[in-house]
C-alpha cells in the first residue's frame, strides 16, 4: 500500500514523527514498511518559473531566448524546447543546481546569448519519461516556489506491507488510525480546497449522512425507496442480488465540467504513484486512497434507461473494460448493468462505454458494498486485480460509505462544479446491522499469560474504535461493538485477544522460560536413520547435495498442473537423474573427483487406499512418497599423494558401500546380489541389487551407462547407487554384549579350486555351515588364475579364524573342522583344495 507522508500529515495534524519513525511504529503495529523513498531526490533548488516573453535566438533557428520570472528576479534563459510559450509555467533550474543526471548548471553563453540556468523537461528532472519538451506546470503556481512542494513531491512514499486480514489499512485514514494510536492525536479529514460545502449536510431532513471514519453503526441512513430499489430525478438503482451487493449508493451530479485536476488534487494522486486523469476520476481515486472506499463515476448519459441494475451476468454477456480489454462475463459474476447491458464488473472495473470523458456533463457516482468472496471469485476468473477488487476482497468498511460519497461529491463540486440531485439514491436490501463480539477477561490470562482488568482491556481497545457495550464488574464478560472497518477480521473472542496483545505491545510481555511437560510424539525414526546415513557417507568423503523434486516428463509419473518450468513439470521417481546432472555440472567445471550424495523424497504413482482425508468430496489418490538415499561418484577414492596414484572408485568399492548403506538403512533380510535390477541405467555386468525381505529389490549400485551422462572425454566412469529407505524404520539394533574372547584365535588359510561357473558365495555358505561354532570370521584374501591352476578353475583363498570363549584351541580342534569343510566341499560342490 502506497502511503504519502504529506497526506498522512494532512489527516493527522498532530503528527510529529519522521517517516522513518512512522515505519518503526507501523512495524510494531503489524504493518512494516517494505520501502521508504523520498519522491523528489533531485529537485533541490528547482523552482517554478513563469515565462514572460519568448524571442527568437538571433543566431539559431531552433533556439529561443526567454525571459523567466523566477519569483525574485527576471532572468534570461536560452531554450531549445519547441513547446515553450509565454505566460506558461515550467520548472526552472538556476545556475548552481545539480540535476538528477548529475549535471551542475552554470551560466553560459550560447551562440553569443547569455543563458542563466535552464527550463527542464520531465526526463531531465527524473519525473517522467517525457524528454520531447519542457514540462508544462499548472498555471495556478506562484513563480519562485520550490518545485517539489508545488508538485506535491516534497514527500516520502511509504510502501506499507498490509497483511490480508487488515483491509482497513488500505487507505491513508486507516494507516493514520494506526499511527494515531501512538499518540499523534485525532484523525481529521483535511478541508477540500475551494469547497462549496456539502449540499446534503445543510438541509434539515438529509443531514443523516454520518461523518467521520468509524462512525457509529447506530446512525441511520435515509432509505429513499423500497429496500432493494431506489429512484429519484429520473434515475433508478435496483439490486437484484442482495447476497452479493448489500447496498448501493448512487449520487447524481449534473452539469459538471470535466477537465484537469487542480494542483492539490493532481499532486496527491501523483504522490501515491498514480497518474492524474481528470477531476472527476481523480476525485474518486482520491477518496479510494484516503478512505479505502472504491467509487466509480458513470457518464449518466451513457447509462441506458438512466438505470443501474446490480445483477449476475448472463452467460456470454460482454463488456469492454476501462483498460480496453474485451471481457466475456459468466453467470456467476456480479455485473453492474444499465437497463439492458453490463456497464461495469462489480467491485473490479468499470466499462469503457460509460466512462467519464471531456464531453460528460452528468455523472452518477457509485458507492457500493460487494461481498468479498464474490469479488475475489470474479477477478480470479477474469485473471485481473484492481485497486477496487483488492480492497473489496479484504473488506470495505460498511459504515464508511456515506462519508465516502459525501467526500467525493464535495471534491467533484469543488473541482468540476455541477449541481447534485437533492437526494442520494440508496438501495439497501441488507442494511448493516453492526457487529458485536464478546470476550472473557479471564482468557487474557489463559492465552496471553498476563492479568488485565476490564478497565485496562477497555482502555486498550477503545482507541482502536471498539466501544464497550456491556460489561458489569461481576461477570467474566465484556462485549464490544466492532467498528465497521474491522468487521471482517474481528469476529471471535480470540480476535479481540489479539487486539489486546497487539495494543498492549508484544515487547511488554515477559519472556521467562517456564517448566514444560515432555510431548507425546516420539522422535520420528527416519530422521535418525537419515543422520546415520549422512554420518557414514560424510565419513567416506561424500558431500551432501540438495535438489528440488521437479523433473522432466521422462523421469516422473506425477504431473504438476501449474509448474514453474514446463521442462520440469513432473515430480521425480528417482533421485539419481537429478544427482547425475549435478555431476555433469561439476565435470563441466573441470572437477574430476566428485562424490555427491542426496537424501530426499521420490514420488511414485499412488494406489487408491482408504486414506481418511477429511474435507469435502472424495479425496484423490495421493502419490506414494518414498524417502531415498542416492550417491554418484567418479574419480579417485582419495586425493593424489606422492606415494603413488590413488585407487579409482571401482565395482568393489560400490559393492561394499551398497551393503554397508543397506545395513545402515536397516533393510530387513539384507542381501547384495550380482546384477542390477531391470531398468537400472547400469552397465551390463557392473551392477548389484540390494535385496530386502522376501528378496525384494530395495536398491542398486553400479557403473552408470555412459549414454546417461554428458561427460568430457577425460572423465572416468560414474558410479551410482540408490536405496529406498523404510517408511517406518525399525529402531536402531541394540548390540548385545558378549565378552571379548579371552583365549587366542587360530587362523587357517584355505586355497580352493573353484570350477568355472561356481560362485564364491556358494563356497562361502558351505564353509560357514560346516565349520561349526568355533569359526568366528571368514574372509576372502586372494584370487588367482593361471599357471599351476587346472584349466577351467580359479583359486580362491579363504582365511578362517577359529576361536573359543572357553579354552585355547588345539590343532586337533581346528584340523577336525577344516577337514570336515574340505570333505564337504569336495562331496557337495566338487571343489578341491589347491595342492
Amino acid at each position: 500500500m502506497n502511503i504519502s507522508f504529506q497526506w498522512l500529515k494532512a489527516l493527522l495534524p498532530g503528527l510529529t514523527e519522521s517517516p522513518e519513525e512512522i515505519g518503526e511504529t507501523l512495524a510494531l503495529r503489524g504493518a512494516p514498511l517494505e520501502d521508504l523513498a523520498y519522491l523528489a531526490p533531485g529537485l533541490d533548488g528547482v523552482v517554478v518559473g513563469k515565462v514572460e516573453s519568448v524571442d527568437r535566438h538571433p543566431d539559431a533557428d531552433r533556439l529561443t531566448v526567454c525571459l523567466v520570472d523566477t519569483g525574485s528576479d527576471s532572468v534570461q534563459v536560452v531554450c531549445g524546447a519547441p513547446n515553450v510559450q509565454a505566460g506558461e509555467c515550467y520548472p526552472y533550474a538556476p545556475a548552481g543546481v545539480t540535476l538528477p543526471n548529475g549535471m551542475t548548471l552554470k551560466a553560459v553563453t550560447i551562440r553569443g546569448v547569455e543563458s542563466n540556468g535552464m527550463l527542464c523537461s520531465e526526463a531531465e528532472l527524473d519525473l517522467g519519461p517525457d524528454a520531447d519538451g519542457i514540462m508544462a506546470l499548472p498555471g495556478d503556481l506562484e513563480p519562485g516556489t520550490a518545485l517539489a512542494p508545488a508538485l506535491g513531491l516534497d514527500d516520502w512514499l511509504l510502501d506499507v506491507e498490509v497483511t490480508p486480514n487488515r483491509g482497513d489499512l488500505l487507505s491513508h485514514s486507516g494507516v493514520a488510525r494506526e499511527v494515531a494510536h501512538s499518540g499523534s492525536g485525532e484523525v481529521t479529514l483535511p478541508p477540500v480546497p475551494g469547497s462549496r460545502g456539502n449540499p446534503w449536510a445543510e438541509t434539515e431532513d438529509d443531514t443523516s449522512l454520518t461523518s467521520g471514519p468509524g462512525g457509529s453503526s447506530e446512525a441511520t441512513v435515509p432509505v429513499h425507496t423500497a429496500e432493494s430499489e431506489a429512484s429519484g430525478g429520473g434515475v433508478t438503482v435496483r439490486i437484484e442480488d442482495p447476497e452479493r451487493c448489500s447496498r448501493y449508493l448512487g449520487a447524481v451530479i449534473r452539469g459538471v465540467k470535466v477537465g484537469p485536476s487542480p494542483a492539490w488534487l493532481a499532486s496527491r494522486i501523483r504522490a501515491v504513484g498514480s497518474r492524474p486523469i481528470n477531476n472527476v476520476v481523480d476525485a474518486t481515486n482520491y477518496v479510494l486512497m484516503e478512505l479505502g472506499q472504491p467509487l466509480h463515476a458513470f457518464d449518466l448519459a451513457k447509462l441506458g434507461g438512466s438505470a443501474i441494475v446490480v445483477r449476475t451476468a448472463r452467460d456470454g454477456e460482454r463488456i469492454r473494460t476501462l483498460d480496453g480489454e474485451d471481457r466475456k462475463l459468466e453467470s456467476e459474476m456480479l455485473a453492474i448493468c444499465d437497463a439492458s447491458e453490463p456497464v461495469a464488473i462489480a467491485g473490479v472495473m468499470g466499462g469503457a462505454d460509460s466512462e467519464v470523458s471531456s464531453e460528460t456533463t452528468d455523472i452518477l457516482l457509485e458507492c457500493a458494498l460487494f461481498d468479498p468472496k464474490s469479488v475475489r471469485a470474479t477477478r480470479n476468473a477474469l485473471g485481473m486485480s484492481t485497486d477496487a477488487s483488492y480492497r473489496f476482497e479484504r473488506g470495505v468498511d460498511p459504515e464508511g460509505m456515506e462519508l465516502a460519497v459525501r467526500r467525493a461529491v464535495e471534491i467533484i463540486l469543488a473541482t468540476a462544479g455541477g449541481v447534485p440531485d437533492p437526494a442520494v439514491l440508496d438501495a439497501c436490501p441488507r442494511p448493516w446491522a453492526g457487529l458485536s463480539v464478546s470476550m472473557r477477561p479471564s482468557r487474557v490470562k489463559t492465552l496471553l499469560g498476563i492479568t488485565l482488568s476490564k478497565a485496562e482491556i477497555q482502555d486498550l481497545l477503545s482507541p482502536l474504535g471498539y466501544q464497550v457495550i456491556n460489561g458489569s464488574e461481576a461477570d467474566d464478560s465484556l462485549t464490544f461493538a466492532v467498528p465497521g472497518f474491522r468487521s471482517y477480521d474481528t469476529l471471535r473472542e480470540v480476535d479481540l485477544l489479539e487486539e489486546v496483545a497487539r495494543t498492549y505491545g508484544y515487547d511488554r510481555f515477559p519472556a521467562d522460560l517456564g517448566p514444560f511437560r515432555p510431548g507425546t510424539v516420539p522422535d520420528h525414526p527416519l530422521f535418525r536413520l537419515e543422520d546415520d546415513l549422512r554420518d557414514l557417507l560424510v565419513g567416506e568423503g561424500f558431500l551432501e547435495a540438495q535438489n528440488m523434486a521437479f523433473s522432466p516428463e521422462a523421469e516422473g509419473v506425477v504431473e504438476v498442473s501449474n509448474p514453474v518450468s514446463k521442462e520440469e513439470a513432473w515430480l521425480r521417481t528417482r533421485i539419481l537423474p537429478g544427482l547425475v546432472r549435478r555431476v555433469e555440472y561439476n565435470l563441466a567445471r573441470g572437477v574430476r573427483d566428485i562424490r555427491l550424495f542426496e537424501l530426499g523424497t521420490v514420488f511414485q504413482a499412488g494406489a487408491a487406499t482408504e486414506d481418511a482425508n477429511k474435507g469435502p468430496g472424495e479425496p484423490p489418490v495421493a502419490p506414494e512418497e518414498e524417502a531415498r538415499v542416492a550417491l554418484a561418484v567418479t574419480g579417485a577414492r582419495s586425493p593424489i599423494h606422492w606415494r603413488g596414484e590413488p585407487l579409482d572408485v571401482d565395482l568393489w568399492y560400490l559393492k561394499g558401500l551398497l551393503g554397508r548403506l543397506g545395513a545402515c538403512a536397516r533393510v530387513k533380510g539384507l542381501g547384495v546380489e550380482p546384477g542390477a535390477p531391470a531398468g537400472a541405467p547400469v552397465v551390463e555386468g557392473e551392477g548389484f541389487t540390494l535385496v530386502g525381505e522376501g528378496g525384494q529389490a530395495v536398491g542398486f549400485a553400479g557403473s552408470l551407462e555412459p549414454g546417461n551422462v554428458d561427460a568430457p572425454a577425460w572423465a572416468g566412469p560414474v558410479w551410482i547407487l540408490e536405496i529406498s529407505l523404510p517408511a517406518e524404520p525399525s529402531p536402531r539394533p541394540v548390540p548385545l554384549y558378549k565378552p571379548p574372547p579371552a583365549f587366542p584365535g587360530v587362523d587357517r588359510d584355505l586355497a580352493l579350486l573353484l570350477p568355472r561357473g561356481m560362485a564364491a558365495q556358494r563356497v562361502e555358505s558351505v564353509i560357514r555351515e560346516t565349520a561349526g561354532p568355533l569359526l568366528v570370521d571368514l574372509a576372502v584374501f586372494d584370487l588367482y588364475e593361471g599357471e599351476g591352476i587346472p584349466d577351467g578353475h580359479r583359486s580362491v583363498a579363504f582365511r578362517l579364524r577359529y576361536q573359543s570363549g572357553e579354552r585355547t584351541l588345539t590343532d586337533q580342534d581346528v584340523e577336525q573342522s577344516v577337514t570336515a569343510v574340505v570333505d564337504r566341499l569336495r562331496e557337495e560342490l566338487g571343489v578341491e583344495k589347491r595342492g
Partner: protein, 345 residues
C-alpha cells in the same frame, strides 16, 4: 720466505677445517665452541697464528697478517651465516632417513549440506528444549494445507501461498504447517515437536526465492501454554542460535492459523574481520503465533482446555544470513567447490 709460506698454508688448512666444522655443526652451542676454538682471543687457533707474527720479519709480516685477517673474517662470516641459517631453519635440514615433512595421506573431506548443517543446529537447540522431530507427506490435500489451518480456500491468504497443484487436484505443501494437523490428529497433548521438511511454492527462482525450499515448523500444545511461554521459548532459541547479545523482537503479523500472530526479528552483533563488532539491522527470522482455537477444534482438541504456539522458519534463509550467501540458488547448484567450503575440517 719459508716461514712465510708455511704459515700461509697452515692458515689455509685451518680455514678449510674450520669451514667444514661450521657447516656440519647443527646447534648453536657447537658453533659457539667452534668460535672459541678458532677465533677465541686467547686460545683461538687463528689468533694463535696472529700472535706468532711477532717472530716474522717485518717484510713477511704484512702478507701473513693479511692472510690471517682474511681467514679470520671468512670463518667469522661462515659462523654468522650458519647461525642465521640455523635460526631460519633453512638450508640443509636434519631430516634423518625419512623426510617426515612430506605431506600425509588424507582421505577426502566429506560434509553435510550447509542447509542440513543449519537444520542440525536448529534441531540440537530444540532438542535441548524438549522437542522431538515429526514429518509428514510433501503432497497434501487442500484440507491439510489450508482448510484445517483455518485458511478458507477463498481467503486472500491463499494467494500468497502460490500453490503448485497436481493434475489430480492435490497440491505440493506450501509450508510444513500441515504436519501440525497430522500430528495433532494422531496424538494427544502435550505436543512439543519440530518438523523440518521440503515445501514448494510457485516462485520464479531469484536471489531470495526457489520453488522448493526447506522449512522448519514447530508446534507446542498443552494446558497452560501462554504468549509468555511462546515468547520465552523462541527468544531462548534465537539467543542460542544467533549468539549471546542477540536482541529479539516480536511484532504483530498475520497467519490464518495463529492468533495472535507474530513476526520474530533478531538484531545480531557480528565481529568483523578486523576484530571490531557491529550491530546488524533487524533480520526477520520466523513467523509464529499462538495456535488459533479453530485449528485446535479442527483436530478435535478442546480449545478451552488447550492452548499452544507454532512457528516456522526457513533454514536456507538462515544459512544465507549465517554464511553470507547472497543468492540462495547456490544451495541447489551443488558445486563441489561450494560444498567443500562447508565440509568437515
Amino acid at each position: 720466505m719459508s716461514g712465510n709460506t708455511d704459515l700461509i698454508e697452515a692458515l689455509q688448512t685451518l680455514e678449510e677445517e674450520a669451514l667444514q666444522a661450521v657447516a656440519s655443526a647443527a646447534e648453536s652451542d657447537q658453533l659457539e665452541a667452534l668460535r672459541i676454538q678458532y677465533l677465541g682471543r686467547r686460545e683461538g687457533r687463528i689468533s694463535g697464528i696472529l700472535r706468532g707474527l711477532g717472530g716474522l720479519s717485518p717484510k713477511e709480516r704484512p702478507a701473513v697478517g693479511a692472510e690471517a685477517n682474511r681467514v679470520k673474517a671468512r670463518v667469522q662470516e661462515a659462523l654468522e651465516a650458519r647461525i642465521a641459517s640455523l635460526e631460519a631453519g633453512s638450508g640443509a635440514d636434519d631430516i634423518g632417513d625419512v623426510d617426515l615433512t612430506m605431506p600425509g595421506a588424507l582421505p577426502w573431506r566429506g560434509g553435510r549440506h550447509p542447509v542440513t548443517q543449519v537444520i542440525d543446529e536448529l534441531w540440537a537447540i530444540f532438542r535441548s528444549l524438549g522437542f522431538t522431530r515429526a514429518r509428514g507427506p510433501e503432497v497434501e490435500t487442500d484440507w491439510y494445507n489450508f482448510v484445517a489451518l483455518n485458511t478458507p480456500l477463498d481467503h486472500p491468504a491463499v494467494d500468497e501461498a502460490d500453490t503448485l497443484y497436481l493434475k489430480n487436484g492435490l497440491l505440493l505443501r506450501t509450508h510444513t504447517s500441515p504436519v501440525q494437523i497430522r500430528i495433532m490428529e494422531a496424538h494427544e497433548p502435550p505436543i512439543r515437536i519440530i518438523a523440518p521438511g521440503m515445501v514448494y511454492r510457485r516462485d520464479t527462482p531469484d536471489a531470495t526465492h526457489t520453488p522448493g525450499f526447506f522449512q522448519l515448523e514447530g508446534l507446542v500444545v498443552d494446558e497452560g501454554i501462554t504468549f509468555i511461554d511462546f515468547k520465552a521459548t523462541l527468544a531462548e532459541f534465537a539467543r542460542r542460535f544467533w549468539g549471546p547479545g542477540t536482541e529479539v523482537r516480536f511484532r504483530p503479523g498475520f497467519f490464518p492459523f495463529t492468533e495472535p500472530s507474530a513476526e520474530v526479528d533478531v538484531k545480531r552483533v557480528i565481529t568483523l574481520p578486523d576484530g571490531t563488532t557491529e550491530e546488524t539491522d533487524w533480520l526477520e527470522i520466523m513467523g509464529a503465533g499462538m495456535v488459533d482455537p479453530a485449528v485446535l477444534e479442527n483436530v478435535g482438541y478442546d480449545s478451552e482446555r488447550y492452548t499452544g504456539f507454532a512457528f516456522g522458519m526457513g533454514p536456507a534463509r538462515i544459512a544465507a544470513l549465517k554464511y553470507g550467501v547472497r543468492d540462495i540458488r547456490v544451495f541447489f547448484e551443488n558445486d563441489i567447490r561450494f560444498l567443500n567450503q562447508f565440509a568437515q575440517p
